[in-house]
């Protein structure tokens, strides 16, 4: 009898969490649509296309002026026999997109270079972010000569500049989303 009561309470809690979760998150598509590298002048350059579907909470925060951060993680590894794969290249890139109320424009800033581009609309800004191209991943010297290697990419979008406590406590609100790893093999 007591066990049933606990089971019922657990079911109610789980159901409530599911309903809350469903209300809090909009399962908009957020994924790495396509990615590839090409060798340009001895440097492997990466092009990535993303579907930047934001959760409702993140979208509302963005619309209220809270900046968004897009983080792109790139890894290149070489398989080894009987040993874990060796990482030959690792790169993390970050862009911030924020609304400038004075200019009434959406500014996309490359956190590594400091360059920024403004866009008249949010859609343009997100569209600009969803296409990343020509990123130098590694030069051929860093990679095994003529040997194939594995590439993988994933993206994270989150609402930036929130107090850590708020992020911690309201994690279920969908402030942050991360794609699965998009992996492929490169044959030089």
């Amino acid at each position: 009898m007591r066990g049933r009561r606990w089971l019922l309470a657990f079911a109610v809690l789980a159901g409530s969490a599911a309903v809350l979760g469903a209300g809090a998150q909009n399962p908009g598509r957020f994924q790495v649509r396509n990615a590839y590298v090409e060798l340009v002048n001895g440097v492997w350059r990466l092009d990535v296309s993303l579907d930047l579907g934001l959760a409702d909470a993140a979208r509302r925060a963005f619309e209220e002026g809270v900046p968004l951060v897009l983080r792109l993680e790139v890894e290149a590894t070489v398989e080894r026999r009987l040993l874990p794969a060796r990482e030959v290249a690792s790169l993390t890139l970050e862009w911030q997109v924020a609304y400038d109320a004075i200019a009434e424009r959406f500014v996309v800033t490359d956190e590594s270079s400091g360059e920024h581009v403004s866009h008249a609309t949010q859609a343009e800004a997100l569209e600009a972010l969803s296409r990343v191209s020509g990123i130098a991943v590694a030069d051929t010297a860093a990679l095994p000569d003529g040997k194939r290697f594995d590439m993988r990419v994933r993206a994270t979008v989150e609402v930036g500049e929130l107090p850590a406590a708020v992020r911690l406590l309201l994690v279920w609100k969908g402030w942050s989303r991360t794609t699965d790893w998009y992996a492929w093999k490169v044959r030089p």
């Binding site: 002026g65 004075i102 107090p163 850590a164 406590a165």
Partner: protein, 724 residues
């Protein structure tokens, strides 16, 4: 070890918790502080809550276990717990409610409508100021575009440089209608080619509308970008002029500040509810910790408060069980400590009192044991009675005298004990009569009768003194039956001796004188007179002879015992005597039942022969006139005793004779001296035996004699008799 460090751990935990509370207070200053401290506050509170839940769980488990087992003090602890908990929880909830209200209002105060409006106004003001500048730059650009119209590409560079300097712009770019740069001029280094104008700009210009926009500058601040179409020279395609103007530093900084403030405010505004929820959650955690702390404190202090009471309860229980050596440890100097001291004093005094009581009881027990020994040794019967005539105690002699077993009579009414006990019942009747008459101090001699025997008792009654009147009665009585009989026997012996002495002496002269008178006078008298004389003298002689026999009997009765003990065959003696009497009177049938085991008897055979003679003489005399007279003689060995029973089928003893059957001169026969059974009894007693007379169930007199089989047994019997 853990208990030793527990207070320090609690103290440290409490200090950390207070520090966390101070931090929480500091977080109210703004979101930055909140971000810095919140995780620490959260960690401290969650850790504290978990620790307290564990501790409370342990103590509650103990408490519930004690409550279910009805451990002394658990109820008091429960009430104390409720009281402490209630006292702590109510104000905590009050403080929590007010704190939540203050906090939410405090956060709301960050977002006053006036602040928002002010920021919006600042933003509008900034935009207005920049709009004026932008319109000015657009007009300036349009004028320049007018001047550049129709210029060739070669001359365009020079013109652009001149216009750039004149206009104070940062960059002028002339592009084709598709946006491809044709010529450009830039203030500063020309380290890079100009970028293609954005699509939105080109589309706007294609629609025939000039473009002007405010652009965030790469190094901070703002730039104004203005673009317009250049009237094309004949034969050339359309051109566009894209100009970039700097915003004055002061204005740019102010606008940037307004933008940052507006952005921060918007962000805060958006986080307003989550922040409030976080604060409420934090406060709830703090409240929960405070509540748990209060509950734990209530548990801890109620336990500490109740523990001395539990010790006292355990102590009182131990005292109730008789353990007066219980001492409690005085752990405090408050009222409980005083109570513990009083308890210890009380147990000490109780222990002393018990020792004294033990000593007194031992003394009383010794006295009682001595009294019991005395009572047991007493030949007098002693019965102690309660005021309601219940038996308190009776000694062995009382039982022996009254023929009652008093061993299980303590506490029972005397009337109940006397039921079926004729001697005691008679005694009870007398006692009841006296008692109802209010007589408690008396002394009397009473005669108790039962089963043909008679007991003479001298009874003394006295009341036991007590604080609240008489505490009962004590009856002391002695059986004087033997004594009286002995006195009577002694008296009768003296009478017999005197009679024998006084009468025997003149009898012989009387007899001789009568015979001489007859001899001398017979010859001179006439026949008739001689006959008279002869008859008279014969009568005198016969009577004298009868008196001689009587005197001889008296002499025999009074004669001091002169025993000649030897071992002889009792059966042979019985047969010999019975044959003799059968020869004298053949009409009497003798039935003998002689036990071979009882053949040998160590006694005076002459006295035993006389005993048998007396018994058979009595029987023969009693059987005179009885048809089919029979005398049965039986011997039997019973332990160390030999039983001799003589039964006839005569008329038996008459009512009232049995009690005095052994008294001298008590006889129902006209010629009897009344000394036969008296002598029998004397002989039996001389041999240490007992004799009883009664009527046989089938009729006729029955005499039962028990004699010790040996002289040793006789001495033992004599000793027992003397002891009794």
């Amino acid at each position: 070890m853990i208990r030793r460090w527990l207070p320090f751990a609690f103290g440290a935990g409490f200090l950390v918790w207070v520090a966390a509370l101070v931090m929480l207070a500091m977080t109210a200053e703004g979101p930055q502080r909140f971000g810095e401290f919140y995780l620490l506050i959260l960690l401290v509170n969650v850790t504290g809550v978990v620790a307290l839940v564990v501790l409370i769980g342990g103590r509650l488990k103990d408490f519930v276990r004690d409550w279910r087992r009805h451990v002394p003090g658990s109820r008091l602890r429960g009430r104390t717990l409720l009281m402490f908990g209630g006292l702590a929880i109510a104000p905590l909830l009050l403080v929590f409610t007010f704190s939540v209200t203050f906090l939410t209002r405090g956060i709301d105060s960050w977002f006053h409508a006036e602040v928002r409006q002010g920021l919006t106004d600042s933003l509008e003001l900034s935009r207005a100021a920049l709009d004026m500048r932008m319109r000015e730059y657009l007009e300036r650009t349009e004028r320049i575009a007018g001047r550049l119209a129709g210029l060739s590409r070669a001359s365009l560079y020079f013109a652009l440089d001149d216009e750039l300097r004149a206009a104070g712009a940062e960059e002028f770019v002339v592009t084709s209608a598709g946006g491809q740069p044709i010529a450009f001029s830039r203030a500063g280094l020309l380290h890079a080619l100009p970028a293609v104008p954005p699509e939105e700009l080109l589309m706007q210009l294609r629609r025939g509308q000039p473009h002007v926009s405010l652009q965030p500058a790469p190094g901070g601040g703002y730039q104004v970008r203005a673009a317009t179409s250049i009237r094309a020279a004949p034969g050339e395609g359309g051109r566009l002029l894209v100009a970039t103007y700097p915003v004055p530093q002061r204005l740019s900084d102010l606008a940037a500040t307004v933008q940052a403030a507006y952005q921060q405010y918007g962000q805060l505004s958006y986080l307003r509810e989550p922040l409030k929820a976080t604060f409420v959650l934090t406060l709830s955690l703090v409240l929960l910790m405070a509540l748990l702390g209060a509950v734990y404190g209530a548990l801890y202090f109620s336990e500490r408060l109740v523990r001395p009471v539990q010790d006292l309860i355990a102590g009182t229980r131990a005292v109730a069980k008789g353990d007066f050596d219980t001492r409690l440890l005085r752990a405090s100097h408050d009222e409980i400590g005083f109570l513990v001291t009083s308890f210890n004093d009380m147990t000490k005094k109780l222990a002393r009192a018990r020792e004294e009581t033990e000593r007194s009881r031992a003394a009383v027990e010794a006295e009682r044991a001595a009294l019991a020994v005395i009572l047991a040794r007493l030949t007098s019967g002693v019965i102690s009675l309660e005021p309601d005539l219940r038996v308190r105690v009776a000694n062995q002699a009382a039982g022996n005298i009254l023929g009652v077993d008093f061993s299980a009579s303590a506490g029972r009414p005397l009337a109940e004990v006397a039921a079926g006990q004729p001697l005691l019942a008679q005694r009870h009747e007398v006692l009841q009569g006296r008692f109802e008459a209010g007589e408690t101090e008396w002394r009397e001699q009473v005669t108790l009768r039962a089963e043909g025997s008679r007991r003479e008792l001298v009874v003394a009654c006295t009341a036991l003194p007590g604080d609240a009147g008489a505490q009962g009665l004590v009856l002391v009585f002695d059986e004087v039956t033997q004594l009286l009989q002995a006195q009577r026997q002694a008296a009768w012996g003296e009478v017999a001796r005197r009679l024998a002495h006084e009468i025997r002496n003149p009898l012989t002269p009387i007899q001789l004188s009568a015979e001489r008178m007859r001899r001398k006078l017979m010859r001179g008298l006439a026949a008739s007179e001689a006959e008279l004389l002869d008859r008279s003298t014969q009568t005198i002689v016969q009577q004298v002879e009868a008196m001689k026999q009587m005197v001889a009997a008296f002499s025999e009765y009074a004669k001091a015992p002169d025993m000649h003990v030897s071992e002889f065959d009792l059966g042979a003696l019985v047969r010999q005597v019975s044959d003799l009497y059968h020869a004298q009177d053949s009409r009497v049938a003798f039935g003998l039942s002689l036990d071979p085991k009882a053949a040998l008897l160590e006694a005076d055979p002459g006295r035993i022969r006389q005993l048998l003679n007396n018994l058979l003489t009595n029987s023969l005399e009693a059987l005179d006139g009885t048809s089919n007279p029979v005398i049965m003689i039986e011997t039997k060995r019973v332990g160390g005793q030999v039983a001799l029973t003589v039964v006839d089928n005569g008329p038996g003893f008459q009512s009232g004779q049995l009690e005095q059957a052994f008294d001298p001169y008590v006889t129902s026969k006209p010629k009897g001296t009344g000394l036969g059974l008296a002598i029998v009894r004397r002989i039996v007693e001389e041999h240490g035996g007992e004799v009883q007379v009664d009527n046989a169930p089938q009729g006729g007199a029955r005499v039962r004699i028990t004699l010790p089989a040996t002289a040793r047994e006789a001495r033992r019997a004599e000793a027992r008799r003397e002891k009794a």
